[in-house]
Symmetry: C3
Subunit: 158 residues, 3 copies
């Protein structure tokens, strides 16, 4: 992984957090490739190889639909997320397909409109990142939460 | 933003956290330019364009005064902060003025002298950084907290 | 600290967190030199210069023994850690010995098998890192926790 790709990955990950945390949700699907995959699961299910997820999508269109639904339900107004994550760690580089797989640790803190703040989720991102010209997009982001409890509470992308 | 500037920013941000977290508070104002600005606000007020803040200063001298006051009040002895923050994300680069504006996510954890630890604050830093020779200083740091509750609790710089 | 060493340090720190958080504990001692030192202490004791620690080891062999004991006691199965840490900050570079000392902030979140998640620990790593050929290992990692309460609860390496 050269320096340039490293910075593209860093920027992509920061853009992702910023889009969600600043409620600029419409920018979120645009960080994925056209056939980009997204999935929220938990460590137990992930380690056992289950392919399902509490949230999942296999195209940018599905991600856009999800955001439209959230906007209509107005669920996002009541809360605010804050992501903090580690530096990305190289897993594999596939030079033929122009993709790099990395992982990183994250925690998400949630602040309600009352002002109360709590630790909301923690886990690991496993990202397959696609490079084209001088940009980087998620070909896949798997969100592996530490807790299986998260699933039922989850409305907004992590 | 070249590699050298990136590292200067990283170091500046780490020095900032280290000064506060290790209670070496007198080092804190020295990380700002002579006319450096500092402000703690919350997302609601920030998004509405309010310029005030729960804490604010527009010179290094005011920051020094604040630290003197804290030392006299002895309020700092009772608690310890720990900052964890993301990598900085480039917002704009102003080559003419030799400044770069970046943002980053942070959380602060507070440990009381009893040993109890809790999540204290989360939010975003918006930093205008001034480069001179081979050093970097804050021309401005705006601390945008996620919760509006933070204001009344806040004595120590975030 | 050149770019290559910076990345080796980043990778080492990420490998450390990943080994513990994914419960791949046997990889943990292998990140230390043969005579690597490891110690968990708290800020008060550390600042007063005490050399002891709630957990300590002065060789890779001792670290391996610790993991064997944890595996036998089966204590690890009940919980899962998640580390998030800052970028490393250069303290000193000793070119003669091929070592670099850095510090970084961390927090650890713990998820129980019930799915409950809480902030478990926060503090600072102080690392002396040894470079050899194209790899980096911990010659020493001191874990300085913010709370002195952590000691009695601690079974798994931080």
């Amino acid at each position: 992984m050269n320096e340039n790709k490293r910075h593209l990955i860093e920027n992509l990950m920061a853009d992702y957090s910023a889009a969600i945390d600043s409620k600029d949700l419409e920018r979120w699907p645009e960080l994925f490739t056209e056939d980009g995959r997204y999935r929220v699961t938990n460590s137990e299910d992930y380690n056992q190889g289950y392919q399902h997820g509490a949230i999942w999508a296999n195209s940018r269109g599905m991600l856009r639909d999800r955001i439209s639904a959230l906007r209509e339900a107005n669920v996002y107004e009541e809360q605010r997320y804050r992501h903090v994550s580690d530096a990305a760690r190289l897993i594999t580089e596939d030079e033929q397909n122009g993709t790099i797989t990395v992982s990183s640790n994250f925690i998400v803190v949630r602040t309600m409109h009352t002002g109360d703040t709590q630790l909301f989720a923690s886990g690991m991102y496993i990202d397959r990142i696609k490079f084209q010209d001088d940009s980087a997009l998620f070909a896949e982001r798997i969100v592996v939460c530490d807790s299986q409890k998260i699933d039922t509470l989850l409305a907004i992308p992590l």
